[in-house]
């Protein structure tokens, strides 16, 4: 079933001219695995699917068959993998992974050092590989990276009336914000609920923990001290949380934001009802596509704002592929993940705005965008390249991260909704996070 559909998709992508040509075979030998069936679990979704069209190419090249066991979003996939660990049903070889999730999985994924060729690994960005390493083991091969920057509706910022009114009210010029404080001013300035909002944020799950975390760092705070004691209930923490609360109280963000996830914020911005949107690069092409977006051609982009610490927010991670330690044909699995992260594969992903993990693809993609006359994507890549190299940091790569996050975000919500003060909320979250860390053996 899936095999035929993938072939259809290949035909479709070939039509749209993205498909790699014969020259793509690089110098890598992908091997011959005739009659072998490789079982994989992949992350699904519009931004991820174009790459999977290439699977049939790999099948044709190696003679192997790929059986896609699941294609789900990462939270669902995470649940399924945890069940597999519990039941010992790790009878598959390759799984999609993510730097934030990887540390929980322990030893189920093998160290790829020595499995993937050294020359191949050398092509990847050092930072991306470093972030993919847990306890000295390279448990995943990065496919593309994510980090957020600030999209804005250009015309709103260029409007002369807006400029004059803003200057009169706030005493400085209206321009895409450099700091979180400025962003707050501007969001409140633009907001006109319920028809128009200044900005928005994802309000639940690890999504809001991550946003809080990057602002905390930007404001000079840290989640944990060097002994893994939670320290996010600091002044910087309170200030960061206050930022969310102020925007929410001022109705500068949609009232339902606390129930939003990434799809809501992305679609909301594309609907033209939000002035500024902090988001990853995967939406870039979508925002500028007249078919999907009301603000196509009117989208500006700057790096994420700075906090009091003079640091820019740069919560980052990579989507990756991992190989299970129980895999019955490591060679085939290695060939598969190498193929899906090679130059041509990453070029396909880059065309929607996804950020490559191979250094060389950045330039090649920009050249291609320029040749296609797509100045917007060139700008996107320039901006994201800068933030990836200067601002990026990951959440702590420790097993209890998701669990700690689950202690933090309901308290963030409670503070934003005014059920407790930011200080109370963070104190309580820190106390519970401490128990989690204690149980996990860090304290």
């Amino acid at each position: 079933m899936i095999r035929t559909t993938l072939k259809q998709l290949l035909a479709a992508t070939a039509l749209s001219g993205i498909a790699a040509t014969g020259a793509m075979a690089e110098d890598v030998d992908y091997g011959n695995f005739a009659d072998y069936t490789l079982r994989v679990k992949l992350i699904g979704g519009a931004q991820y699917e174009p790459l999977y069209a290439r699977i049939s190419e790999w099948e044709a090249m190696t003679g192997a068959t790929v059986d896609v066991l699941s294609r789900k979003n990462h939270f669902e996939l995470d649940r399924e993998i945890k069940q597999d660990i519990a039941a010992g049903t790790l009878d598959w070889c390759v799984g999609s992974n993510h730097t934030s999730f990887a540390p929980q999985y322990g030893a189920i994924y093998m160290d790829l050092n020595g499995v993937i060729g050294e020359e191949t690994l050398a092509e990847f960005q050092e930072l991306a590989l470093k972030n993919s390493t847990v306890d000295g083991r390279l448990v995943q091969l990065p496919r593309h990276s994510d980090i957020s920057n600030l999209y804005y509706i250009k015309s709103r910022f260029e409007d002369e009336d807006n400029k004059a009114a803003f200057k009169a009210e706030y005493g400085y010029d209206l321009a895409p914000p450099e700091t979180w404080d400025q962003m707050k001013d501007m969001a409140m300035f633009f907001a006109d609920a319920p028809s128009f909002y200044g900005t928005q944020f994802v309000g639940k799950d690890e999504a809001i923990t991550g946003r809080f975390y990057e602002m905390l760092v930007a404001n000079g705070g840290q989640l944990f001290d060097e002994n893994w004691e939670p320290t996010f209930n600091s002044e910087a923490g309170v200030k960061s949380l206050q930022w969310f609360k102020d925007l929410y109280d001022a109705q500068a963000v949609p009232a339902g934001a606390l129930n939003y996830l990434w799809d809501d914020t992305g679609l909301g911005f594309a609907s033209g009802t939000v002035a500024m949107n902090l988001d990853w690069a995967g939406w870039a092409a979508f925002f500028n596509d007249p078919e999907n977006s009301k603000i196509a051609g009117d989208v500006g982009l700057v790096r994420a704002p700075m906090g009091d610490g003079g640091v820019r927010a740069g919560w980052s991670g990579s989507h990756t592929f991992s190989i299970t330690s129980t895999c019955d044909n490591v060679e085939a699995a290695a060939s598969f993940v190498t193929f899906l992260t090679n130059h041509e594969s990453q070029m396909i992903e880059a065309s929607t705005g996804l950020l490559p993990t191979r250094a060389s693809v950045w330039d090649a993609a920009k050249e291609k965008f320029a040749a296609d006359g797509n100045d917007f994507l060139v700008e996107v890549f320039d901006t994201y390249q800068l933030s990836m190299s200067e601002d990026a940091f990951t959440p702590p790569l420790i097993a209890p991260w998701i669990e700690v996050s689950n202690e933090i975000w309901p308290r963030l919500q409670a503070a934003i909704l005014g059920e407790m003060t930011p200080q109370e909320a963070l104190d309580e979250a820190a106390e519970d996070a401490r128990i989690v860390m204690e149980d996990a053996g860090y304290l």
Binding site: S16, Q47, Y48, E49, V68, K72, D263
Partner: protein
């Protein structure tokens, strides 16, 4: 001049129209899903809203089946077949087991009868979420994960208690003397059951069947845990193919919803008549 009969008739029509409108209002949230299935992209979740689709299209269905669009097709035919096989088989088996159990409760006196009945009913109260992991662990040991059989067994267990309840009540309605008379005439007990009691209990069985079918057809919590691939994934689990990390394809999901609803609706309409009769006698009278 208006005579009484005409007045009565007009009143009946008025009542019907009123009820019809009420029913439709009740269905609006569901109808909205059906309308969404036929909307082109721009009209889905539009602001301001487009109430009635202005350009109805089958594009969402085309997308599901991967016709003429560059999107991976959702393997709906496979899901559909899985759902159909799983729901029909589990319903049939649950009815058999339920008939046998219901007959025992209706026709025999035995030790622990009331306790057993209550125990069977209470087994249904265990929430799916509490069952999902332990069942998963046991199923994985015996190779029932990602197998239609694994899900069928679970659904049979879900449906047996209610089926026994309805069918028990139904058999009690049928005078014992009828089958006794048949036995006097030389039938075995089995023949008497098959020729006399079973035909009389048909509507009870049909209504138990429709409830069992709808439960299996729509179940999600357990199916999402116990299925893995197109070998066993059912339609409700397939709905999740439309959600991904960053987007929910609501139009596509609605189109799939229509595909899920139609067979259930047709079946319900067909079994309608038996349904009411079956519930009437099965439920209480016993």
């Amino acid at each position: 001049m208006m005579n009484g009969a005409l007045k009565k008739r007009l009143g009946a029509i008025g009542l019907w129209v009123l009820t019809f409108i009420l029913m439709v209002v009740m269905c609006v949230p569901g109808l909205w899903v059906v309308l969404t299935a036929f909307r082109p992209n721009g009209e889905v979740l539009a602001k301001p809203p487009v109430w009635i689709p202005e350009n109805p299209s089958l594009l969402n269905f085309a997308k599901i089946f991967g016709v003429g669009v560059d999107q991976v097709a959702i393997p709906v035919p496979a899901y559909f077949m899985n759902s159909l096989i799983i729901a029909l088989t589990s319903t049939a088996v649950a009815l058999l087991i339920g008939m046998s159990g219901g007959y025992a409760f209706a026709r025999y006196r035995f030790k622990f009868k009331n306790g057993m009945f209550l125990g069977l009913m209470l087994s249904r109260t265990v929430p799916g979420i509490a069952l999902s992991l332990p069942v998963f662990m046991i199923w994985s040991r015996i190779g029932l994960i990602d197998a239609k059989l694994g899900l069928i067994i679970v659904y049979v267990a879900l449906n047996v208690p209610f089926t026994i309840w309805l069918i028990d009540g139904f058999f009690r309605q049928i005078p014992k003397e009828m089958s006794e008379a048949a036995q006097v005439d030389g039938c075995t007990r089995w023949q008497a059951f098959w020729k006399i009691e079973f035909p009389l209990a048909k509507s009870g069985i049909a209504s138990a069947g429709i409830f069992a079918f709808l439960t299996s057809w729509n179940e999600y919590a357990l199916a999402s845990n116990l299925t893995r691939s197109t070998d066993s994934k059912t339609l409700p689990v397939g709905l999740m193919d439309f959600t991904a990390q960053f987007t929910i394809d609501w139009a596509g999901m609605s189109a799939m919803a229509v595909i899920i609803i139609i067979p259930a609706l047709i079946l319900t309409f067909l079994v309608q008549k038996h349904l009411i009769a079956g519930l009437t006698f099965g439920g209480v009278k016993g």
